[in-house]
Symmetry: C2
Subunit: 341 residues, 2 copies
């Protein structure tokens, strides 16, 4: 039986927000698994703000996706054929399968795809793309290792309802900090407080972030976990405490810019407050993912931590769903469901 | 005998570069030293870029100088009268004496003035305002404690010919790093290389800083000690290595701005490179000044370190000399000589 694999390939480098013509929705026949190969049926695809950066030319922490290539994306799937003794048919796996329905993992591209088995007793496939996946690892190591929280400190997280934000805020709470989110819209702020158990959430769309910080961070900001950059970063800089740590995890507000990125004009607050701004890339912590997965899954079982996903159905929905990340449409980690099983 | 004390008092908060009308050059009669007091004849006054910040209103790491107050400044002097058993007539002392010819140090203002004896066997009075004073302490602790240099790394220092820059670069060399300065003008760059023994110096006035960094930092930038901010900070951000450290010590280029400070638009290089940008204020290291003074004075005696001052004569020269710091007129630490002895 020959399978058809539908794929989203990058057709053009977007200017600003990506549009339908930036994609080529193609299909090809899936080959048989040869010696050493593993054929994965993709079940769910992770949609992440960082993907927008991979579509641009230029030096970054990872090479850009080439024109004509299948769009890079993390995912979870099920092994449907294997000529590799380390993986059996039926195993659930995670890896960088791309935006497609099937992925043939070859020993030659194994390192790039980083195929690994996942244990569905620890979490659902979608949770393996969220709290137990890259966003969870990012929030966990970014907050704990770069942010260095101490009990009683105030931690502010932008993009609080998103995938990384939900982990950063919940880990902050577990470590005895006050967690204050920033998110867009009243509903999303309610979600952040009621479902993710932040202490408070500031709605940047309808109110003043500055006033919100004054109200909800009466003792100032000790850690700012920044997913958005732009004006919000600049505003938080005016409220930081001495020896504050700003974790630069992303800059969602800037990823679709057609003008140059805007830097934080208030950066001299770092000087006045002897504070630190530090960038992080989750891949640096790969050797310790299992430690974080163990701890987060324990917290989940104990009911102290929730992994919230926003699941969109069908691979055809990919281009529109990706843009939702930047228009602020998602509540929780955005996942594209490609197949049920 | 009653002494006349001439003083520069802040008459108005400057807009941009300070102008003569921002100052009131007044005089008053010096009082007798009463119980617990020490009367200091000021010999030399330290002129520092930070002074421009103290003239502005608004929250910073230190309160602004009030209108009508004697301008704050560090200095060295000689005790000419003392009713304090800790200080004898003839002692040489350092402290925040202000821009004036005499300073009566009272137990009530002693903490603010931070009166301390200086040992002229370790350095000249001017050197006590430079390598053995605040700029030296700033360069020493900023580079070593915030920058954390490792042998073989490349350290870039802006304002390299200035007071802080000369210490930062020389300490970098002593610690086995490659030291590359940035300064304005060919003569100043020659000074930085020939007299301060940097490996190279980039002239930002006549050349491209980007090209200079490519040429002189072939292995990228591991530490950037930033005294200037602005476009130079932005350019260096494009050349930093993974895990680079940027020490935010000052932003001379921005201190006279009449428009808002410009932030580093390339700050996302911190993310890509997992790099850190951290502010420092020298006062935090006060408990360890003696350690640094001991080490720097040993290096000076051993001929491994030079303390270069640019001495301007006469208290009347103060307003013009201060502005020289921002027009880039000084070679080495700028000192105002008020009296010979």
């Amino acid at each position: 039986m020959s399978l058809t694999n539908r794929q989203y390939r990058l057709a053009a480098r977007p200017v600003g927000m990506s549009k339908p013509s930036d994609w080529n929705f193609s299909s090809e026949t899936v080959g048989e698994a040869a010696q050493g190969q593993v054929l994965v049926k993709v079940l769910q695809i992770s949609l992440d703000p960082a993907m927008r950066g991979w579509m641009n030319e230029g030096k970054s922490y990872i090479a850009p996706v080439g024109i004509g290539e299948v769009m890079r994306a993390g995912g979870v799937g099920r092994v449907i054929a294997s000529k590799n003794p380390q993986f059996a048919v039926g195993d659930h796996v995670a890896g960088g399968f791309g935006v497609q329905e099937y992925c043939l993992v070859d020993p030659a591209n194994a390192a790039q795809i980083a195929l690994s088995k996942i244990d569905l007793r620890l979490g659902t496939p979608a949770q393996w793309l969220n709290a137990l996946g890259m966003p969870g690892m990012t929030g966990y190591f970014g907050l704990l290792e770069v942010g260095q929280p101490k009990p009683g400190e105030t931690v502010v997280v932008s993009g609080a309802a998103g995938a990384v934000g939900q982990t950063a805020g919940q880990v902050a709470k577990i470590k005895g900090c006050r967690a204050v989110g920033i998110a867009g819209g009243r509903d999303k702020c309610d979600f952040v407080v009621k479902e993710l158990h932040y202490d408070a959430c500031i709605d940047y769309k309808t109110g003043s972030v500055k006033d919100g910080l004054k109200e909800h961070c009466p003792k100032g900001v000790d850690i700012y976990f920044d997913n958005v950059g732009g004006d919000i970063l600049d505003t938080v800089l005016t409220r930081i405490n001495r020896k504050a740590r700003i974790v630069i995890c992303g800059a969602i507000s800037q990823y679709n810019n057609t003008t140059p990125v805007k830097g934080p004009d208030n950066y001299l607050s770092l000087l006045v407050n002897r504070a630190r701004m530090e960038g992080m890339v989750v891949f640096d912590w790969a050797a310790r993912y299992s430690e974080a997965i163990g701890e987060i899954s324990q917290w989940m079982r104990a009911g102290r931590f929730v992994s919230k996903e926003d699941i969109v159905e069908g691979i055809e929905a990919f281009p529109e769903a990706l843009n939702q990340l930047f228009s602020g449409g998602n509540f929780g980690k955005l996942v594209l469901q490609v197949a049920k099983d």
